[in-house]
C-alpha cells in the first residue's frame, strides 16, 4: 500500500535526514524549524465554519 520505506527528507531543506538530528539533516535546519514555530510560520487550514474562534487576535 505504502511505497517501500526510504530515508525521509529533511523537512526544511529536503536533503536526506541525519539520524543524530532526526528528523532533520542538521542542527541548522532544526534551528530554522524552531524559528518558524516561533515566528508563527506554521499553520493548518481552519474549518471555514461560521463560528468565530474567540482566540482570534
Amino acid at each position: 500500500m505504502t511505497p517501500p520505506e526510504k530515508t525521509k527528507p529533511c523537512p526544511i531543506c529536503r536533503k536526506p535526514m541525519v539520524a543524530a538530528f532526526k528528523p532533520f539533516c542538521s542542527d541548522r535546519c532544526r534551528q530554522v524549524d524552531l524559528g518558524r514555530w516561533l515566528t508563527e510560520a506554521y499553520s493548518v487550514p481552519a474549518q471555514p465554519s461560521g463560528e468565530e474562534d474567540d482566540g482570534a487576535v
Partner: protein, 808 residues
C-alpha cells in the same frame, strides 16, 4: 672579543674589524633574544620555524620561477638539510661588505635579495632576517652552492664564518643551493624535529605553489620516512583536501587567479559544505596569517556584498536579515596573496597590515564571485538557500532566548501564568494536559486532580490568510509557554544555557487533549509535529499521550454511557438491541451469541455496501448483491434478476424496472409518473474490491436473505429486505428510548464529566504516542503546513480522515 667603543673607519686595517663588530652585535642580539626573531624556543615552534625559514627561501626561488623542487632531509645528528634547484646564492664578492655575497646573506641581518625587488618580486622571508637568524642560532651551518658550473662551500659556527666561501670542485649539479644546519642546543630546549609538523607545512607549501615538488625525508628512523608532495590543481586542490570526506554543496570549488595589480596577485579557491563551521586560510607570500588581516578583510567585504545582493529576494521570503556570518557558515576558502614588501603586525606574521592589499583583494573577489553567481545559477541557488537558512537559524536562536523563559525551570515563579500547575514535584508522578481552547481549559482546571494533574490551555490562533481562506496556528507565545511549562529548554545548546534536556522535563505524562473534530485533529497534529521535530526524545521516552475524550453520551433512564466514537456508539446500540432479538433465517432461528456472530457479518456487508454507494443508493446495491449482479463481468440474466427484485420492493404503482447491459456496465431505468429514473452500475463500481467481495458472498446471501427474514424484538416484528436493512433495523431498535448527545467539543463537557471520562486515571484511556505514528502524521503535515499552498488544499481533503484517525 667585541669592543663596543671601537668605531669604524679609525684605520684602513681596522675597517674590516670594525664592520665585523657591527655584524656580531646584530647576531648577538639574535642569540640574546631569539624569541623575538624565531618564536618560542621551548615549545618547539621556534625550532620548526628555523627549518621553515630556510625552506621559505627555497620556495621563494620556486615562486620567482627558478626552482622546481625542494628537498628537505632530517639527519641523524639532529641537523636539517634543505636543497633546491634554484639559481644558487650569489657567490661573487659583495663590494660594500668585502666578503662573498653568500656570506653577507647568511650573516648580516637585514641583508639579502629581498629588498631589491628585481631579484625577488615577492618573498615569504621578511626583511631578510631569515637565513642569518637561523645561522646565528645554529651550532653549525654548512652551505653548498652550485653556480657557474662549480660547487662552492662555506661553513659557520654559531653564525660566525669558520670557512669562508671557496670553490671545492666542479659542479655535478645544474644550479642550486643546499643548506644544512644544526639548531643550537644552547638556544632551544627541545631540538627534536617532528616529522608531522614539517609534513603539514610542506603540504601547505606544495598546495600554494602549484607544480612545485617538495619531498621530506626522515633519515633518523629505519626505514626512513619519505613523503613527496606535488599538486597541480592549485588552491582548488587544497580546498578539496581540506574538506576530504565532506560533501560540498557543489563541485569544483570556485577558483580565482588574478594577474598582477599594483604588484599584487590574488589567488582564491572556495566552496561551501553543509557543515556549520567556517574554515578560511589566508596566506601572504606563502606564509599563513592565523589572525587574517587586510587580505581577509577584503575577501569578507566582497563575499558579504556579492552574496547579500544575490540572496536578497530569498532572505525577504524567509523574513531574515543577512549578516556576514551567515554567508561564511560552511565556507571553506583558501586565499593566497603575493605582495611585494608586505607588512605584518608582528615578526611571526600572524596578521597582514599592508593596507594596499584590501581594495585589490576586494575588487578581484567581488568580480570573480559575481561572475560565478551569474554563470552557475543552479549551484548558486543551493548556496543562497544555505546562507538564508543560516540566517534563519541564527534568528531562531535569538527568538528562542527571548520567548522561552530562561530561568531555572524548577522555579515556580517563572512558570507561565496560564499554567495551572499541580502540587506534585516528582516528574514521574506528574501529568500535564495540554488542552485546546479556554472554555475546555476552564472545565479541565476544575475537573482535574490538583495533586498531580496540571493543565495548560493553548489557543489556536486564527489567521486570515486570504479573503477566502482561514488558517489556524499556534502563536509564538503559545509555543514559548509550552516550552517553559515543560521545563526542558529547547534546541541543541547546553542545558545550562537553555538547550533541551529530557532530565529537566517536569511531567512524565504529557497528554494532548483536543476536540474530536477536524479542527481539533489539526491542532493535535500541529502539536505532534512540534514535539516530533523539536523534542523527539520526549516521544521516544514514551512520555507523550493523546487523551480520548468521548464523542457521545448515551442515556437511557438512569443509565449513562460515554462513547468515544461512531464505532463505539454502534457497538453500544447493537448491544442494547440484541439482548432480546431473534432472527429467523432459512437455516434456523438465531439469538444470543449466534446472533452476535451473524450481526458481525451484517456489519461487514453493510459497511462494504455503504462504501461503494456513491451514486447508487445502498438499498439498490443490497438488492444487487442478493441478485448476484455485482459481478465484474455483468450479464443480462443477473441484471434482470436485479430488476425483478427492485420491482418486488417497490410500491406497486412504481414498478416497471427495465435493464440493459453493455461494456459500460448495467443500466436500469423505470418511468414513474412520466419521469424517467435511471441507475447505472458502472464498470468502475463493479471492479471495486468491495463488489468482488460481495459477489463472493452471493451464495450465502442468496440462501439467507433472498426472502426477507423475520426479525423480532420481544413483541415487535420486522421483515428487512436484506442484510443492510436488517442491520439498520437492529440499530434503530437500539436507539429506542435512548438520548444520544454528541459533544461538539471538550468545552461542552462539564468538569465532572471531563473527570469521569478523560482525566480520571481509573476510567480514561490514553493513547501513548509512538514515534512511528508521528512520522506518518509528520509527513502528512509537512505538506499541510508547507509553504506550497496549492497542493495543500487537495491534500487535506484526502488526508483529513487519515489524520483524524491517527490514533486508531
Amino acid at each position: 672579543m667585541s669592543d663596543p667603543s671601537a668605531t669604524p673607519g679609525e684605520a684602513g686595517a681596522d675597517a674590516y674589524e670594525a664592520s665585523s663588530i657591527t655584524v656580531l652585535r646584530g647576531l648577538e642580539a639574535v642569540r640574546k633574544r631569539p624569541g623575538m626573531y624565531i618564536g618560542d624556543t621551548d615549545d618547539g615552534s621556534g625550532l620548526h620555524h628555523m627549518a621553515f625559514e630556510i625552506i621559505d627561501n627555497a620556495v621563494d626561488e620556486a615562486q620567482a620561477g627558478f626552482a622546481s623542487r625542494v628537498d628537505v632531509r632530517l639527519n641523524g645528528d639532529g641537523s636539517v638539510t634543505v636543497t633546491d634547484d634554484g639559481r644558487g646564492i650569489p657567490v661573487d664578492m659583495h663590494e660594500e661588505e668585502g666578503v662573498s655575497a653568500a656570506e653577507v646573506v647568511l650573516t648580516r641581518l637585514h641583508a639579502g635579495g629581498k629588498f631589491n625587488q628585481n631579484s625577488y618580486k615577492v618573498s615569504g622571508g621578511l626583511h631578510g632576517v631569515g637565513a642569518a637568524v637561523v645561522n646565528a642560532l645554529s651550532e653549525w651551518m654548512e652551505v653548498r652552492i652550485w653556480r657557474h658550473g662549480q660547487e662552492h662551500f662555506i661553513r659557520f659556527e654559531h653564525g660566525e664564518t669558520v670557512q669562508p666561501l671557496k670553490v671545492v670542485g666542479p659542479s655535478g649539479h645544474m644550479t642550486g643551493t643546499e643548506v644544512t644546519f644544526k639548531p643550537s642546543s644552547g638556544t632551544f630546549t627541545k631540538v627534536e624535529y617532528e616529522f608531522a609538523v614539517l609534513e603539514r607545512r610542506l603540504r601547505e607549501l606544495a598546495f600554494l605553489n602549484s607544480g612545485l615538488a617538495i619531498t621530506v625525508t626522515d633519515t633518523r628512523v629505519v626505514p626512513e620516512l619519505r613523503t613527496e608532495f606535488c599538486f597541480t590543481g592549485g588552491l582548488g586542490a587544497f580546498v578539496e583536501w581540506l574538506d576530504k570526506g565532506k560533501e560540498p554543496l557543489f563541485k569544483p570549488p570556485i577558483n580565482l587567479t588574478t594577474k598582477e595589480t599594483e604588484g599584487i596577485r590574488v589567488e582564491l579557491a572556495m566552496w561551501w559544505t553543509s557543515s556549520p563551521r567556517e574554515l578560511a586560510l589566508c596566506f601572504t607570500n606563502n606564509i599563513p596569517q592565523r589572525d587574517g588581516g587586510t587580505h581577509q578583510a577584503g575577501f569578507r567585504q566582497a563575499l558579504t556584498r556579492v552574496v547579500m545582493k544575490y540572496a536578497e529576494d530569498l532572505a525577504k521570503k524567509e523574513k531574515v536579515e543577512l549578516i556576514g556570518d551567515d554567508m561564511r557558515e560552511g565556507l571553506t576558502a583558501v586565499l593566497s596573496v603575493k605582495v611585494p614588501d608586505p607588512k605584518f603586525s608582528s615578526q611571526t606574521k600572524d596578521k597582514l597590515v599592508s593596507s594596499e592589499v584590501q581594495p585589490v583583494v576586494q575588487m578581484a573577489v567581488a568580480d570573480a564571485l559575481s561572475h560565478w553567481f551569474e554563470t552557475h545559477p543552479k549551484e548558486a541557488k543551493i548556496v543562497l538557500e544555505q546562507v538564508v537558512l543560516s540566517a534563519a537559524a541564527r534568528k531562531a536562536a535569538q527568538l528562542a532566548r527571548e520567548k522561552v523563559g530562561r530561568k531555572n525551570a524548577l522555579d515556580i515563579s517563572t512558570l507561565p501564568g496560564k499554567l495551572a500547575d499541580c502540587a506534585e514535584k516528582d516528574p514521574a508522578k506528574s501529568e500535564l494536559f495540554i488542552v485546546e481552547g479556554d472554555s475546555a481549559g476552564g472545565s479541565a482546571k476544575q475537573g482535574r486532580n490538583r495533586a498531580n494533574q496540571a493543565i495548560l490551555p493553548l489557543k489556536g490562533k486564527i489567521l486570515n490568510v486570504e479573503r477566502a481562506r482561514l488558517d489556524k496556528m499556534l502563536g509564538s507565545a503559545e509555543i514559548g509557554t509550552l516550552i517553559t511549562a515543560l521545563g526542558t529548554g529547547i534546541g541543541s545548546g547546553e542545558p545550562a544555557r537553555g538547550g533541551f534536556s529530557l532530565e529537566k522535563l517536569r511531567y512524565h505524562h504529557i497528554v494532548i487533549m483536543t476536540d474530536a473534530d477536524v479542527d481539533g485533529s489539526h491542532i493535535r497534529a500541529l502539536l505532534l509535529t512540534f514535539f516530533y521535530r523539536q523534542m523527539p526524545q520526549l516521544i521516544e521516552a514514551g512520555y507523550l499521550y493523546i487523551a480520548q475524550p468521548p464523542l457521545y453520551r448515551a442515556k437511557r433512564g438512569q443509565e449513562e454511557r460515554y462513547l468515544k466514537d461512531d464505532a463505539a456508539l454502534e457497538e453500544f446500540l447493537l448491544e442494547k438491541a440484541l439482548s432480546n432479538a431473534k432472527l429467523y433465517l432459512p437455516g434456523g432461528m438465531l439469538e444470543g451469541a449466534a446472533l452476535d456472530e451473524e450481526v458481525r457479518k451484517l456489519r461487514q456487508i453493510s459497511g462494504r455496501i455503504r462504501r461503494i454507494s456513491g451514486h447508487v443508493p445502498p438499498e439498490v446495491l443490497e438488492q444487487a448483491a442478493l441478485a448476484g449482479a455485482l459481478k465484474a463481468q455483468p450479464d443480462l440474466e443477473s441484471a434482470q434478476r436485479l430488476a425483478a427484485r427492485l420491482d418486488a420492493i417497490a410500491h406497486p404503482a412504481e414498478r416497471g424496472w427495465m435493464t440493459t447491459v453493455d461494456a459500460a456496465g448495467i443500466h436500469l431505468h423505470r418511468v414513474v409518473r412520466g419521469v424517467t429514473e435511471r441507475l447505472n452500475l458502472s464498470m468502475a463500481l463493479l471492479n471495486t474490491p468491495d463488489a468482488r467481495w460481495l459477489t463472493e458472498q452471493f451464495p450465502t446471501l442468496e440462501r439467507d436473505y433472498a426472502t426477507p427474514p423475520r426479525l423480532t424484538f420481544d413483541a415487535v416484528e420486522a421483515a428487512p429486505r436484506g442484510p443492510h436493512a436488517a442491520l439498520e433495523r437492529i440499530l434503530a431498535q437500539g436507539r429506542r428510548g435512548l438520548t444520544v448527545q454528541r459533544f461538539k467539543g471538550l468545552g461542552e463537557m462539564n468538569p465532572d464529566q471531563l473527570w469521569h471520562t478523560t482525566l480520571n486515571p481509573d476510567a480514561r484511556t490514553l493513547l501513548q504516542v509512538k514515534i512511528e505514528d508521528v512520522e506518518d502524521a509528520e509527513s502528512v503535515f509537512s505538506t499541510l503546513m508547507g509553504d506550497v499552498v496549492e497542493p495543500r488544499r487537495e491534500f487535506i481533503v484526502e488526508n483529513a480522515l487519515k489524520v483524524a484517525n491517527l490514533d486508531i
